[in-house]
């Protein structure tokens, strides 16, 4: 037990989890922005933008995240010398955020689109019937319902993003999965307690997000 505790003095476990949380935070913001833009493209009546949105989603949703992250480090940085910061570690961090954002934007786009799809056609017809033109109908009737319908799927994307932030280990970011590997290699006799410490860390982060978004999606659900 003493050996186990001294491991935590030696290694900064909380700091590694903090990196995961930061990765998740920034990637959540960027992927929400990009994903919303893509969703707007996909639901617009303009064929070329629809095509772009659909192609983006099909390409990024079907590519392993590991390849995208590895691409950032090996190809963007290693071969094209794309650098997002002077600082070496910060550069890898930002490249990982870029990869996570590009990948999850495809899922955010689909989550928002599925939210719009929960709105029955009658709502739009009713809005037009009382004389609302496009923008007021979208702003007052359709989008408020669509956002509520998108909460649960967006929550699922956020949970997936939190767990996927560990894949940044493939992009030379010193986060929790990498630290767990280092710690196990140092104390291979404590492999099980070390694993459960990290696993419980994720359980503690992920399960409240799930409970919160499920609660919010039920609380804000449109009764039909």
């Amino acid at each position: 037990m003493d050996g186990f505790l001294s491991l935590f003095e030696q290694y900064d476990v909380a700091g590694a989890f903090w990196i995961n949380i930061q990765l998740t935070f920034w990637a959540a913001i960027w992927s929400l922005l990009l994903g919303t833009l893509l969703a707007l493209f996909r639901i617009s009546p303009i064929a070329s933008l629809q095509w772009f949105g659909a192609s983006y989603v099909n390409i990024f949703r079907n590519t392993p995240l590991t390849i995208i992250i590895a691409f950032g480090v090996l190809a963007l940085f290693g071969q094209l010398f794309v650098s997002l910061s002077e600082d070496f570690d910060l550069n890898f961090f930002r490249l990982a955020v870029l990869g996570l954002s590009l990948y999850h934007a495809a899922f955010v786009c689909e989550a928002i689109r599925s939210g719009v799809n929960t709105v029955p056609l009658g709502q739009a017809e009713a809005a037009r019937a009382i004389g609302l033109s496009f923008l007021p109908a979208a702003r007052l009737v359709i989008l408020p319902q669509a956002f509520r319908g998108a909460i649960a799927p967006l929550g699922n994307v956020l949970i997936a993003l939190t767990k996927n932030s560990t894949v940044a280990a493939a992009g030379s970011v010193a986060e929790s999965a990498g630290l767990m590997k280092t710690m196990i290699e140092f104390r291979s006799d404590m492999v099980i307690p070390i694993f459960f410490t990290f696993a419980m860390g994720f359980v503690i982060i992920v399960i409240p997000i799930g409970l919160l978004t499920t609660w919010a999606s039920k609380k804000l659900a449109v009764a039909r």
């Binding site: 303009i46 099909n58 995208i68 094209l80 994720f202």
Partner: protein, 291 residues
């Protein structure tokens, strides 16, 4: 309802003209973006023939990409079978009327779903290695397959459960009416129909398994990403090698996704459950994605 129908009325002449103009502007922007990408790559010397010709040679495919793809498919294939088995066991456990069993299956499923696959993979890889019970060259494969099985088994368990709960109540009542026990009705009436109903979502989950198998790269498993990287390091064309590997993944996964969509239309006649392949909007299926 389709998003376009909800948001947009049938366009009149003026709206049609605006859409036409928007279409041209959008197309120009997209062409501009693609042109910028290609010009940037060309300026950095990434379009030189020397970077691409290796992919026309037989030895590149024979010694790098095809063995890598084969290992990817091997790990994903085995993991698909084992995670379906584990998913059925855990799913039926969660539906059991025996409280401790239901509770235990619930805790296992929630735990496995909350822990990142990569964490389990690294743990299994190092733990099996430290235990020294296996030939070292087999360990990465076993770790990849086991981690994928544990995670995806728990997701499939939720699919089974939501599939059974999505069936009309009358199905179970009919089973009870002809004197079946809960277990009999689950086995011979409910789960078979739930399986048909969940088949599209199950095939979508196979896409997740295939994508996740690329995590094996981090624990030195020789799957496609790993062999593509080795090729790229040797030839000095990492960017191109990773792009080709990504394209191979996209083609296989796109085919699987299309299959899932077709299945959901085909199978709706064969079950009383819902064959909707909407794993993004389905709350119970937890996350649409992992790596």
């Amino acid at each position: 309802m389709s998003a376009q129908q909800v948001l947009f009325d049938a366009p009149g002449p003026k709206a049609k003209r605006n859409i036409f103009i928007g279409n041209i502007v959008g197309a120009l922007l997209i062409v501009g973006l693609l042109a910028w990408l290609i010009i940037t790559l060309a300026e950095r010397g990434q379009l030189e023939p020397a970077k691409w010709t290796p992919f026309l040679e037989g030895r590149t495919w024979e010694f790098f990409l095809l063995p890598g793809l084969l290992d990817t498919l091997r790990a994903a294939g085995v993991a698909i079978v084992t995670s379906v088995v584990l998913g059925l066991l855990l799913g039926i456990g969660r539906l059991s009327h025996f409280l401790p069993l239901r509770w235990l299956a619930g805790v296992i499923v929630e735990f496995l779903r909350a822990v990142p696959v990569l964490l389990m993979m690294i743990f299994l890889w190092l733990a099996i290695g430290a235990a020294g019970i296996m030939r070292p060259q087999d360990i990465p494969f076993i770790a990849v397959v086991t981690a994928l099985t544990l995670y995806n088994g728990s997701v499939i368990a939720e699919l089974v459960r939501s599939g059974v709960e999505g069936l009309p109540k009358g199905q179970r009542e009919a089973g009870m009416a002809i004197g079946m026990t809960r277990g009999q009705s689950l086995r011979s009436i409910e789960v078979p129909q739930a399986l048909t109903a969940m088949l599209p979502a199950l095939v979508s989950q196979f896409v997740v398994i295939l994508k996740d198998s690329a995590l094996g790269y981090i624990i030195t498993y020789t799957e496609l990403l790993q062999t593509a990287r080795r090729l790229g390091v040797g030839e000095g064309n990492l960017l191109q090698a990773l792009l080709i590997a990504a394209v191979i993944f996209i083609i296989i996964n796109f085919a699987l996704s299309s299959l899932a969509n077709r299945l959901s239309k085909l199978l709706s006649f064969r079950t009383t459950g819902k064959t909707k392949n909407d794993n993004v909007s389905n709350v119970v299926v937890a996350d649409p994605t992992n790596a």
